[in-house]
Symmetry: C2
């Protein structure tokens, strides 16, 4: 049996009564996914919607030509795969575990009754969707107006803010991210990302390893993301 405390303090369930929480937990099924496993695949029947309890999940779109684009990373405590909320019957993208993950899954069929029964949950869920839409729009603006250097800097800053773990030396992104991953988030090549990160490492703004990025001077990176190149020299 699952405990209400699993979800009680998470943002999607904020403001819900204990009885509502118990109802939701009661209908949920816990699932585990090993690193690299698909939680769901683009185009398949959206039979479940999910809450990430632990881990990190990469949401990816693949073009007809086989190129990958990373739509976003899901952190623990977030809802994802909520296709039913938008009247969609298939998942629009792939969701892949970036590390070993624990999720709760609900049948999509209960979505409508659930939001009707727990209006607070509906409000929270739609707020999340609003934020994602906003985020997507901002990314379009970014792709349309900023240079690669700014976009890469921004992507790393955001990852650090979203999922960074403070260490003695700086903020460490706490799941494996390759140069290729960063390039797929920013619409460039792993080569360019590597060149940029190398130069930043030389300037002491980041410390990196294999699939590992630690931000040591967030301020300077943020300045780069804004397009300020005055200090690059």
């Amino acid at each position: 049996m699952l405990d209400v405390s699993l979800i009680a303090d998470l943002p999607p369930f904020e403001g819900l009564e204990p009885s509502a929480l118990a109802d939701l937990v009661g209908k949920a099924r816990p699932m585990r996914f090993a690193k690299g496993a698909h939680v769901f695949a683009a185009g398949t029947d959206a039979q479940l919607f999910f809450l990430l309890l632990d881990g990190h999940i990469r949401v990816v779109r693949i073009t007809p030509e086989g190129e990958q684009v990373i739509a976003r990373y899901i952190s623990s405590g977030e809802l994802f795969g909520i296709a039913p909320a938008l009247g969609m019957t298939v998942y629009p993208a792939d969701a892949i575990a970036a590390v070993d993950c624990v999720v709760l899954a609900w049948p999509s069929s209960i979505w409508h009754d659930t939001v009707a029964l727990h209006p607070g949950f509906a409000t929270n869920a739609y707020k999340v969707i609003g934020q994602r839409l906003q985020e997507a729009q901002e990314r379009i603006v970014e792709m349309a107006t900023e240079r690669v250097e700014q976009r890469v800097a921004n992507a790393i800053v955001k990852l650090a803010q979203q999922t960074g773990k403070q260490t003695r030396e700086g903020v460490l992104i706490d799941f494996p991210v390759s140069r290729q991953d960063i390039s797929e988030m920013t619409g460039t090549t792993l080569h360019t990302v590597s060149r940029l990160i190398s130069s930043w490492e030389g300037a002491g703004m980041v410390k990196c390893g294999r699939q590992k990025i630690m931000v040591t001077e967030g301020r300077r990176l943020e300045r780069l993301a804004r397009g300020d190149r005055s200090q690059v020299d």
Copy 2:
């Protein structure tokens, strides 16, 4: 007094009972906007949500540096400015009448009661949001993976499909679109757009004038949008 027939056949109200339609129409206020007028401005209080009855509306984001990016065009029959649906209290973008427009406006305050009262309307509205989110994601993929030529071709094809009027010579986009507008939809410069369109006009795929684009050979444009350059020579 407004008549139910104004909205009865529009997609957002599909499947609603006559009484629901009457209720909605009764609470709506008709408004007119002259070409170039702001329907709402980014960052202002989202006091109303809208339905476009006639005209075309351009939704625009402006960067801190003053660059514009066109998020989308709204065609008649579409809902827009539905910030309350996503728990937002301010509009996230500017909405500007591309031609003289007629809209219906409802107070945002009635959103929650309305969707509770008319679940069919809620479903339709969230479907629209889902489509917009999808569209935004697809545009991100496009910006990340396709070259300028493809994006511009695609933007014109979509405009023609969305709002094109069939004429004897081809499909005419039936509101004024400048080269600059196209560039703001695709993340390039008006110069590049002008060059591309000129060459397409030379190849007989489009016929253009001042703020006027007519697609004469959609097939070839679509092929360009897919990245097929075999016939360019």
